[in-house]
């Protein structure tokens, strides 16, 4: 469901694509290294976590054409499990994050097996319903502490060496996690596996007739996306030292859709820009309270009606290269 033109398959063009995207990656990295001079590191860490979350979501919608309206369940699962592992089991941060990510991947496998049985609109409704089921589960199960959430999660010592309670250590740890996650997604998209995914998006029947077992490809993409969303949630739980029900609510699923739509569906950098813009806006509009929902709705409507390529998609159109 994208309007963006696709990278052509011939080798020189692809090399050129990769070159300018490398430049864009470097610029993005440089931005997040320099940004703490101007902005609060906590805000930037939040942006990075959500950028990874949105990029994970975009892996499905942008490259497989599957709109998941339930990605909050993976964010919340990553968050709850990593918070629980760090606080109650006393695991070091790297193991806590791994626990959250792995659990999100397992949930992704279960949800994916059910959801990929239908396409298009049904896929969106099924993922939304499953995510609502997970929400009620976290509301009722004791270990999440209901409305209170898991509070005062210790950040711990990374690999027993680095004290993450230092804000700069935490900042560059989040930087590394998000960077690695984005590079992994970039790698997936440009691998032969990613090419098959895009073929499925363009014409699933044709991909099937070429002998690809599209269900398996879709399922693997779904699990990868779920795991990366879980990674974002797990990291976020350590940043804020909190895992709460907000992350599991359907409005969170809507928010990640909006970030990706605003930044540009099916672009590598769109989700990052979308997360930055939307969170920045929410920061400024915080004093408006519940008006934030209205503003989000208005942005949704404007994006869908007039701005379907998103910020990065339009930019890519301008320089005639996919970003």
């Amino acid at each position: 469901m994208t309007d963006t033109s696709q990278p052509s398959a011939d080798a020189p063009a692809r090399a050129a694509n990769l070159r300018h995207q490398t430049v864009a990656f470097a610029a993005l990295g440089a931005f997040f290294v320099a940004a703490p001079l101007l902005m609060y590191p906590i805000f930037l860490m939040k942006v990075m976590c959500f950028a990874l979350f949105a990029a994970a979501f975009n892996l499905l919608i942008g490259y497989v054409g599957l709109l998941s309206f339930g990605h909050a369940m993976f964010l919340a699962t990553g968050g709850y499990l990593s918070a629980h592992a760090a606080k109650v089991w006393g695991l070091p941060p790297e193991m806590a994050i791994l626990t959250g990510t792995a659990t999100a991947a397992v949930l992704g496998l279960a949800a994916g097996l059910i959801a990929i049985r239908r396409q298009g609109i049904y896929f969106a409704m099924i993922t939304l319903a499953l995510s609502q089921m997970v929400f009620f589960f976290y509301l009722q199960t004791p270990f999440t502490h209901g409305e209170d959430g898991i509070q005062a999660v210790p950040r711990g010592m990374l690999f027993g060496l680095v004290d993450l309670s230092n804000v700069w250590a935490m900042y560059f740890f989040v930087f590394a996690v998000t960077g690695a996650g984005l590079l992994l997604i970039y790698r997936i998209v440009h691998s032969p596996f990613g090419q098959v995914l895009q073929a499925i998006r363009e014409n699933e029947q044709r991909a099937i007739s070429l002998g690809y077992r599209t269900d398996r490809y879709k399922l693997l993409a779904f699990v990868l996306s779920a795991a990366l969303a879980g990674l974002a949630g797990a990291t976020k739980a350590l940043v804020f030292q909190l895992a709460s029900l907000t992350d599991a609510h359907w409005s969170m699923s809507g928010e990640v859709v909006l970030m990706t739509l605003l930044g540009g569906l099916g672009t590598v950098f769109g989700p990052v820009v979308g997360a930055f813009v939307l969170l920045g806006m929410e920061n400024y509009l915080a004093q408006l309270g519940s008006w934030v929902t209205v503003v989000q709705g208005v942005i949704f409507v404007i994006c869908v009606l007039t701005f379907r390529r998103g910020v990065i998609g339009e930019l890519g159109q301008l320089i005639k290269k996919p970003l």
């Binding site: 709109l67 298009g120 969106a124 319903a129 609502q132 089921m133 994006c303």
Partner: protein
């Protein structure tokens, strides 16, 4: 006191009744969704917000203008339906050439706007709405107490559902609609004004949601958030039933309401999630839904 499977009959029938009430709303709402989806090919995420608008419309009529429940039953669907027509003409119309998912995203955004505006105005607390005097009180059936209003809701929604089924399946107008679902270009070529039909269909579906909202007002409180969570359950109902058949939507709606009610009696912890679990099971066995055909 009598018991069935170790559960007091009073509680069992009480929950069955609540199940049927919820089922009435599931049926009305999923019917509206199915009608809209049939012709427009979009999933109307605004449906929950429009249901809420119906309830608020009734509240307004009563508290600001002194117009009672029975008139609200007629006025609210028309007013909210007209609002739906406006939305279709101004916005949704532009999306027919695009991927259907954009329709979902647009209506999701609209739902956020509408819910946000109502919440800013009225807060999250519910506003009470009186049961109309004619339907106050109830009947003791011996094994349980049946409030008149609840019986009315079940009967009325059955009648509305059946009337809709009749219009769509058995009348000339309905045959146009069904033909438009199959092949809009051809129907247009036969001289039927398809764009107008689409607009009115959307208005009708939205009107059904508003009607459900008015009927819900005396049972649940009138609350800006009343439609937000409900619509997700209705989506699950729609997935279970499959959107192919009108009768299927009605049956699934009532059936799942009853299942949910029974779950409240036998295993209350799962009552919030049982419909989603049923959805997962149905998808594993019959991916197209109970009454659907896979496209």
């Amino acid at each position: 006191m009598d018991t069935i499977f170790g559960v007091p009959t009073q509680a069992l029938f009480g929950q069955l009744l609540i199940g049927l009430i919820n089922g009435s709303f599931y049926a009305l709402l999923s019917l509206g969704l199915a009608v809209i989806f049939g012709l427009l090919n979009i999933i109307n995420f605004t449906h929950g917000a429009q249901y809420m608008m119906g309830a608020f419309c009734a509240w307004f009529l009563l508290n600001k203008l002194g117009v009672g429940y029975w008139w609200a039953l007629a006025i609210a669907p028309v007013a909210v339906g007209a609002f739906g027509v406006l939305i279709e003409r101004l916005m949704i119309r532009h999306l027919y050439q695009l991927d259907h998912l954009y329709g979902l995203l647009l209506t999701f955004g609209l739902a956020l706007i509408i819910q946000g505006l109502f919440r800013n105005e009225f807060g999250s607390a519910g506003l009470p709405y009186q049961v109309p005097a004619e339907l106050a009180g109830g009947q003791n059936l011996g094994f349980m107490f049946l409030p008149k209003y609840r019986a009315w809701v079940i009967v009325a929604s059955l009648v509305v559902c059946m009337a809709t089924w009749f219009v769509i399946e058995k009348t000339k107008l309905g045959s146009y609609l069904r033909a438009g679902t199959e092949n809009p270009q051809l129907v247009q070529a036969f001289g039927v004004n398809v764009p107008r039909m689409i607009t009115l269909t959307y208005g009708f579906g939205v009107g059904l949601a508003a009607l459900a909202g008015v009927m819900a007002a005396p049972i649940y409180q009138v609350n800006p958030l009343m439609g937000g969570d409900l619509i997700i359950v209705v989506f699950a109902v729609v997935v279970i039933g499959g959107m192919g058949s009108i009768l299927g939507a009605i049956l699934t709606g009532f059936g799942l309401g009853v299942i949910e009610g029974l779950t409240k009696v036998f295993y209350p912890e799962a009552s919030n999630t049982v419909i989603f679990i049923v959805m997962a099971i149905v998808l594993m066995i019959k991916p197209a839904g109970l009454f659907g055909t896979q496209k």
